[in-house]
Symmetry: C2
Subunit: 306 residues, 2 copies
């Protein structure tokens, strides 16, 4: 994950270019992993950093902190945020890299919100503090054939029952920006400094207008995160027009191939919620309709990320 | 996995080009997955195929068998080989695709051997019936830097304690055949029709002779499987000189970079055994020595696949 340069460099730039935020402040790093964000904060002048990590990696983080001479600034705590105790009453800054695929798949957002409510001072800051989900539509004839239609004839056999299942699973993959047929629409912005856990469930309307005559095989979701407390706005995008990250994009294949002309729109709504049985899974409901010259299609499709 | 063409096509060719093996025979497919091998066997004229699959995929396999009109020939049984009952006393053929990375990582070999001892007639056949593990040595300056030396300086911090751990984990990756510096040596051949479960633990000597002046950064292991009961010998290799499969190759990085001249040899032995605590992990011990013009290096390195 450290090798995702966009991700790690973005955090590094945010921290090193905004030392005024960290000078003499107490920082809580939620899900610290190797401790890289804590090291950035320590180097930027934080008074103290508490690096909380529940996996075995905490042991490595301790060694790394020591090897780099930051034992007096960074305290690695092995455990869950919900269970650890800090030797301070409050922290000034919470930093975390909590985002999952599709922003919300297997994410650590609730842990960050819990930490915020329990440990952050009233005027404290959360880094990053904004996360936004976007939607666009792509042409993907070649790939859909490869991934979905493949099941119609597998070495001479009909396995189309697997196709139905494959259709319902969002595909995490890199989309070429030349495949984008419509505008990219903002679905939802989350304010991490204010939101409650329930705000990660939502229904957002969308209207995607074709910028050329083409076919639509899939809708594509992606997110960006921003750090609005920086001297100037900083952040990064995981969209198809930006440099690739390990989050790639999330492809939702449509049952129908939509024939769309420039100026025509796909309208609908996307509903996102954690699965009730397994809250780490994400249920996605897509309602859409196309009023085009060639067809009038309305459909509801369900997806599950797991 | 079906999309691994080398793998699936090899089984398909073995079955379709050797129908004489299957005609009127009873077949047991161990770990049937989607049922693809069972379908091949049914189409090749098997009297009956029992497709045993313990995952949820068994339900899909049942639908697929029905959709393709083979319900009267293929019976899908959901369960473990050790627990299911067959309505016959013995089977004539056991077919399985049981191989894991490095042949033996998270493999189903023991399940196949169990099925063989319990269900196969005395003169029955196992497909495939031979599996061989090979070793060679590669130059990999660029990649080793990327994967291993990376940890020396991670965004300005010393994380070399992670490097030690990274060194001990065999890397499953595709090696370019131009990186190969020495001969490729056979370490071990397993006869699936005769071997016992203990035969998957072994120590094999090797001698790798350099074919050019170069540096050695890693040893590379790979396997092939063969079907010796075919009219002519058939099988496939997962080596760097063959078409890539999902098994790729297994790279064991060396702590030292060896400077080797054409004709010089790396000699040693490779010991392979399931981990005692978790038998699905594989412990690998590599002993090697190089008596070259530039250096004399002897070392023992331990690896664990998990």
């Amino acid at each position: 994950m450290l090798k995702d340069v966009v991700r790690t460099k973005s955090y590094q730039n945010v921290i090193y270019q905004n030392k005024f935020l960290f000078k003499d402040k107490v920082v809580l790093d939620v899900g610290a992993g190797t401790g890289i964000l804590s090291l950035f904060c320590a180097k930027a002048g934080a008074a103290h950093v508490y690096a909380v990590e529940c996996s075995q990696m905490a042991n490595m983080a301790k060694q790394i902190v020591e090897a780099n001479g930051f034992s007096n600034v960074i305290t690695v705590l092995k455990g869950k945020i919900e269970e650890i105790e800090l030797p301070v009453t409050k922290v000034d800054i919470i930093i975390s890299e909590w985002m999952g695929y599709f922003l919300l798949f297997e994410n650590m957002l609730n842990t960050v919100l819990y930490a915020r409510d329990k440990w952050l001072v009233d005027d404290g800051i959360v880094l990053p503090d904004k996360a936004s989900l976007y939607l666009t539509a792509i042409e993907d004839a070649e790939y859909k054939d490869d991934k979905i239609e493949f099941w119609n004839n597998v070495y001479g056999f009909d396995m189309s029952c697997i196709k139905k299942q494959a259709m319902m699973e969002p595909l995490v993959d890199t989309v070429d920006q030349n495949q984008i047929v419509t505008n990219c629409q903002l679905l939802k912005t989350m304010d991490i400094s204010k939101m409650g856990p329930g705000d990660a469930s939502f229904t957002a309307p969308f209207k995607l207008v074709a910028q050329r005559n083409d076919y639509i095989h899939a809708l594509v979701a992606y997110f960006d995160v921003t750090f609005t407390k920086c001297h100037k706005l900083m952040g990064f995008s995981t969209g198809p027009k930006s440099r690739a990250t390990h989050w790639k994009q999330t492809v939702l294949y449509l049952e129908d191939v939509l024939t769309i002309c420039e100026g025509e729109a796909i309208s609908g709504s996307l509903t996102v919620a954690p699965n009730k049985k397994n809250p780490r899974d994400v249920d996605i409901m897509l309602k859409y309709s196309l009023q085009g010259r060639h067809s009038a299609i309305s459909r509801i499709q369900y997806y599950k990320m797991r």
